[in-house]
Each structure stands twice: as C-alpha cells, then as structure tokens.
C-alpha cells in the first residue's frame, strides 16, 4: 500500500535531513500510528506520501504507483485515492457542513446526483446527520473534525492520512474521533495517523512507528506510545542533540 525505500528528505538550507534513509512498508487495511517529537519527520512523511514533496533520495510507492515517476499532471488524480485530515480541520468558513463535504466532490467533477446521495451518507456515518445545514463556527471542535473526516472519506479513499487529528481536542472528544477512525479502518481503509497523544496510542494497541530526528527507531505491532519491548534500533542518533536547533 505504502512503501518507502531508503527515503531521505533534505530541505534547502538545512543540513540535517527531515527523513534519513527511511525504509518501511504499510499494508492494506492497517492502522498505523506515527509518533515522535515535533520535528522528528512525521509531517514530512505524510507530505511525501501525498506527493506534496519529493524525496531527495530513495523511492516511494503508494497504491502501486512509483511517486517519482508520477507526472505533475497526474498528481491530482492520484490524490483522489487519498483522504487527509489535519489538526486545524481546514474547513471553508462560509460553507455549510453539507457544502464543505460536497465541495470536495464538486471539484473532482462528481455528478449532482452522486453528491446528493454520498454526502448525507457520510455525514450520517460520522454522526452529523442532523447538522448538515450548520456553518463550521456553529460546531464544536470535535464536530468540526468530524466534518473534516467526512470530507476526507466521502470519496472512499484507499488511504486516510491524519496529521494530529486530535491535537486540538479534549480527551473525551478525541476518543470519539478515534472510534470513528477505527470504524473507517474497519471498512478496509488504511489509516496512517501522526500523533503526540500517548493515551490514544497506548489504548488502541495498533502498529506504532516511532521517528527520532528523521529515522525510524521503532516499528512495533500493537505497541504503545513508549515501547515496552526492546526497540528496533537503527543507528539511533546521539541523545544529546535536543532543542529547536537540532530539530529537522
């Protein structure tokens, strides 16, 4: 589903790679947590999967496609197979809940009939059936994130990327969002979630990939936020380097 081969990502003007020779494979239907400190490379990882960035070295395959060989003309069509959710929701403030979700279908050319059918379905699934006419600012944070999730999955993507989706939410609301993501995963969608939320990771007991300074230091089935077992160490960086200067 997602395969990284020796992927290194360097940003201009920064000698330390954001990702350093990362190799991993994520299979269909897996639920994967990506954990690590701020600047450890989680967001870079997600951006590479989305092909918002290109790797400096190495190859990335997503959904059977070699992203290095994907022309920029084809990138939009590739992204239709991915759903993305962010910490800050990124809803359109002037559009209602229904229109926010419908917008993502309109712009990829879906028919009116399809939209009229698919949007209420997905809103029902995320638990917002009665609120399709509301504007985003009339909703709670958790509800806004549900709208964002509805928008991400309405086109039935094979992969759902979530960048700290619970980062702005309180624990009980977060739990609701996680239940939703679990349900989506149960439907066969591969979910890749970057998070800082130790409680959620510990509770879910799913695959955990830990990044430190751009390197995978742990890849554990049914892991917790911090490892209980011996980590899969691969040239872990010296622990002395901390602070903002060392990050990314």
């Amino acid at each position: 589903m997602i395969r990284f081969d020796q992927v290194t990502k360097l940003y201009a003007g920064n000698n330390r790679p954001a990702l350093n020779s990362v190799t991993l494979e994520i299979l269909r239907g897996e639920f994967v947590f990506l954990v690590g400190a701020s600047g450890s490379g989680k967001s870079s990882f997600l951006r590479l999967v989305l092909k918002e960035e290109n790797p400096s070295k190495g190859q990335i395959h997503v959904l059977g496609q070699n992203l290095g060989k994907l022309t920029s003309r084809k990138v939009p069509y590739f992204r239709r197979n991915l759903g993305v959710v962010f910490q800050d929701f990124r809803l359109l403030p002037q559009k209602s809940v229904f229109d926010n979700v419908a917008f993502s279908l309109q712009v990829i050319g879906k028919s009116k009939g399809f939209i009229q059918e698919a949007v209420p379905d997905v809103l029902k699934m995320v638990g917002l059936a009665g609120k399709s006419g509301r504007l985003p600012h009339e909703l709670s944070g958790g509800e806004q994130q549900r709208v964002a999730i509805a928008r991400a999955i309405v086109n039935k993507p094979a992969i759902l990327l979530a960048d700290e989706p619970t980062g702005n939410l309180d624990p009980s609301t977060s739990a609701g969002i996680m239940t939703l993501l679990e349900r989506i995963s149960g439907g066969g969608t591969t979910v890749l979630m970057a998070t800082h939320d130790a409680g959620i990771v510990d509770q879910m007991k799913r695959r955990v990939i830990e990044l430190v300074s751009g390197q995978i230091v742990r890849d554990e089935r049914q892991g917790g936020y911090q490892t209980q077992a011996l980590p899969v160490q691969r040239q872990a960086p010296p622990p002395t380097e901390t602070g903002l200067g060392a990050q990314r």
């Binding site: 918002e52 920029s72 239709r80 990124r90 359109l92 917008f103 712009v107 990829i108 050319g109």
Partner: protein, 304 residues
C-alpha cells in the same frame, strides 16, 4: 455541473475584486483603443498612398526664356531638344517603366494655372511664356521615379524633373509618426494591463487560498483550478476590448465619416468597413493577452 461551478467561481471572483476588475477594464479599454487607432492610421496611410501614388506623376519641366536654373541659361527649349527628350522617354531603358506620358505646351499649362490659382494676385501678371512646357509622365510603379529623374535631369532643355510624390511625403511622415506614437502608447498601456491582470488574479487567488488548498488536497485537476481565474481575467479584458471596439467604430463613424468626410477634400478616408476589420483584432488580442497573463499568474498556485 462543473460548468455551473466554474462560472459561479468566476462571478464570485469578479464581485470580490470589483475595483481591480474595473481598472483592468479601463486599462485594456484605453490601450486597445490606441492599438485600434494605430491600425486605422496605417490603413489610412495605405489608402492615401494607393490613391495618390496612382495619380502622382513625374513632371519634366522644360526651359523657358526666363529660367536660369537647370540646363537652361535663359533659352527656351528648342524643338530638337523636345524631340530628344521624347526620344529618351520612348527609349528601351525608360519605356518599360512608363504607363503613359503627355506633353503640355505653354497655353495648356497657362489654362491649368489660371484655373488653379484664379484667386491668387499673381495670376494677373503671369503670361503663357512664364509657364514651362511639361512632359507629364505616369509611371507603372511610382516608386521607380528615380530612374526618370536621373536619366532626364542632365538633358539639354530640361529645367527640372520633379516627382510629385515628394509633395505627399511630409503628410505620410506625419501620419506614420502619429501611428507609431499610438503604437508606443498602446504598448506601454498593454504592459500595464498585463501586470494589472496578473496582480488581480494573484489577489483573487490569495483571497481564495483556503479553497485552492482544499482543491489541491482532494485532487481537483489543474485545469479545473486554473479555469475560473483565467476566465476572470478574460471577462474583464473582454469588456475592455468591446468598449475599445465601440470607441474605434464611433471614432470612424462620427469623426472620420461625419466630420472629416464632410469637409471638401479629395482624400479618401477609412470607413466603417475598415473599422470592422479592427474590431475582431482588438477583441481577440484582448482575450489572448488576458488569458496568457492570468494563466502565468496562477501557475504558482498550481505547483503540486
């Protein structure tokens, strides 16, 4: 569905940036009016050239007893000299260039002089012997006059060989200068128009950056993202070029046809037919310019 969505985006963009859109309309209007005026001036010059050059002749003035210039020395051209000049005109060198020539003697020249300068005071003193005898030569190609001038200027009995086109040259020079000035102003204004369109489109894209971000995220195609912005620029420029076309047609109708044509003159002027040739040029030019500059301006927002 998609067409409706694109058009509603265009409408939104135009409403959101009314003041910028109005300035695009005005700048394209003025610049394209200058472009149109320059084209009309060139058409006018061509028309006048065609008209006058057909009528312009080369005059071979012969000596009179009062002439001291040329090859004269105050001696009237003799019949032998006239025969020699006529021989030259019929020669293998000049004959192929000449459509026809006529000889005008003192009396005929005097009659024409009286007719043309009847109101002038000097007409009372002038007698037929003052008026030189003349060969009026019409050329097949008026631009070949130099050959005649060179060949006949040195011949005995010739006072001067004069190409009438020289009278017209200053007029054409002035018209040419006017048309180049119009093109220059139009060029500067068009640069302003292009930059203004690009700025407006960037502003419009900036105010819609949330939508653009989401569109890119969910996989809207570049063309879909680009089209509303390009159309926005095109609509504004189209309005400007339609106004410019209206101005050009109005100038030809009211000023050239209504005013200039009403004054007595033999000069032919451009007409509405010429103006309607300019209209599609202005409209297509305006549309292409706007589409190109908008497409370039929006490209930054399409980078994936």
């Amino acid at each position: 569905m998609r067409v409706g969505l694109v058009l509603s985006e265009v409408g939104q963009g135009l409403r959101r940036n009314v003041s910028m859109v109005v300035s695009i309309i005005l700048v394209t209007f003025i610049s394209l009016t200058f472009v149109g005026a320059a084209i009309l001036l060139q058409q006018q010059i061509n028309q006048m050239k065609g008209y006058w050059y057909d009528r312009a002749q080369v005059a071979v003035y012969l000596c009179t007893q009062y002439d001291e210039g040329g090859n004269c020395n105050s001696v009237e051209a003799t019949p032998e000299q006239k025969a020699n000049i006529e021989q030259q005109l019929k020669s293998a060198v000049l004959a192929p260039l000449i459509k026809r020539y006529d000889f005008e003697d003192h009396d005929a020249g005097y009659a024409r002089y009286q007719q043309q300068f009847s109101s002038s005071e000097s007409s009372g003193f002038v007698t037929p012997d003052f008026i030189p005898e003349t060969f009026w030569v019409s050329l097949k190609d008026p631009s070949q006059s130099d050959a005649i001038v060179e060949r006949l200027s040195g011949v005995a009995g010739v006072e001067e060989v004069f190409d009438q086109r020289k009278y017209l040259q200053p007029i054409f020079d002035a018209l040419n200068a006017a048309s180049y000035t119009a093109i220059g102003i139009a060029g500067l204004m068009l640069i302003a128009a292009v930059l203004l369109i690009a700025t407006t489109i960037r502003l419009s894209a900036f105010s819609r950056r949330r939508e653009l971000g989401i569109m890119r995220l969910v996989g809207a195609s570049n063309r879909f993202i680009q089209t509303p912005f390009v159309l926005e620029g095109v609509v504004a420029a189209l309005i400007g070029s339609v106004l410019a076309s209206g101005a050009i047609v109005a100038i030809v109708h009211f000023f050239v046809q209504g005013y200039l044509n009403a004054t007595p003159s033999a000069t032919p002027f451009v007409d509405l037919g010429d103006a309607f040739i300019v209209v599609p040029i202005l409209i297509m030019g305006g549309i292409c310019l706007a589409a190109l500059s908008a497409a370039v301006a929006i490209r930054r927002y399409l980078r994936v």
